[in-house]
Symmetry: C2
Subunit: 214 residues, 2 copies
């Protein structure tokens, strides 16, 4: 009994087939979506499609990684590292540049970042040597850092990486902190999972601290 229908397209054009094959390589885009995207591009003007392709090629070719923090950048130093107004003694360690963008968007952090480029995951074969851990140690060795904030995912892999980095950093004269785990702002307690709720009680905050916060 065959219940699942396999989608096989007989393409009327080899050019279309080529474009669909390329689009289907993108993550989360199947062959059906790829065909829809290709047909959309066919409705655009040739100039629009050229602009589309050029923007992607140019990004891949010309984009650099910041030599200090590993963030994506148009120049040698990223805008954050090059900004003298940022707190040079405060370092926030993140997995990915998306996390930099998310934290920047909160407008609550004024220090510098360190992009690891991943987290330790034996399941996926990612070890400390695949990440920019050595550069992180080096930045601490250079001095003038007083606090490292570990802002990694709240998963087993994130916790493993936190512990690994803590062991490497604990002999430096710095404070190592992790971002708070707790109840999401706006959430009802009854819908919060018990581990998070438990952590939010263990890591409770003095109320005066909340009051004096801007």
């Amino acid at each position: 009994m065959q219940n699942k229908i396999k989608i096989v397209y007989i393409f009327p054009s080899r050019l279309l087939e080529g474009a669909v094959n390329e689009l289907a390589k993108l993550p989360g885009i199947g062959r059906k979506s790829a065909l829809r995207l290709a047909l959309h591009l066919l409705k655009c003007t040739p100039e629009e499609v050229e602009q589309f392709g050029a923007a992607l090629v140019r990004m891949r070719r010309e984009m650099k990684r910041c030599s200090s923090c590993g963030n994506i950048s148009d120049s040698e130093l990223c805008e954050i590292c090059a900004n003298p107004k940022r707190d040079q003694g405060l370092l926030c360690v993140v997995e990915d540049i998306r996390d930099v963008m998310a934290i920047e968007h909160t407008a609550q952090f004024t220090g510098l970042y360190h992009v690891l480029g991943g987290i330790i995951s034996p399941m996926e074969g990612v070890g400390p040597e695949d990440l920019s851990t050595d550069q992180l140690i080096q930045r601490n060795r250079n001095g003038n850092i007083r606090e490292v904030i570990l802002a990694l995912p709240a998963t087993i892999e994130g916790d493993t990486t936190n512990f690994y980095l803590y062991k490497k950093l604990k002999d430096f004269p710095i404070t190592v902190t992790v971002i708070a785990r707790g109840v999401s702002v706006g959430d009802a307690l009854e819908y919060t999972d018990e581990v998070t709720l438990g952590r939010s009680i263990l890591n409770r905050t003095p109320y005066e601290q909340v009051l004096t916060r801007k």
Copy 2:
């Protein structure tokens, strides 16, 4: 009360922002997905990204429309129209090239196609003049067509277009048919909607016809 959080990204690079803006123009791709795709492309080699862009640009620039049926084609006449073994007297009218591919995949149709390029939809401002209806009339005027099959969507717009085309074609010495509406193969009757089930009774098929079918 603001419940919906607007996603605003502060991009660390203008090149990345440009690529995300272009990717977000694709249908069904929001800014969050566009960023994910852009970061995926950054992990590819520059050659892979160039091949990706070139395949899309080349498709848009070099692809032609078949001068006879309006299907997408690499040459002046598409492979279907250029095939002398196909039944030149049987014409199947479809909305879109995706429908050509779907019908070709059934391997049940041996005639030629006519791609309308849309269906009549007053809501979206699409009238008969925006479709290749004149070319369809012209193909019938040229003679040697004995049947036109209307294979348009089973929607109000599809029905409207069917009726419009029927009025235009009824004075030609041809048979105008529509594809059967009925219970999907493999479906239980109790889960079929009543309109479809009603149509399947009205358009019932002589059982001998089913038996003699290969």
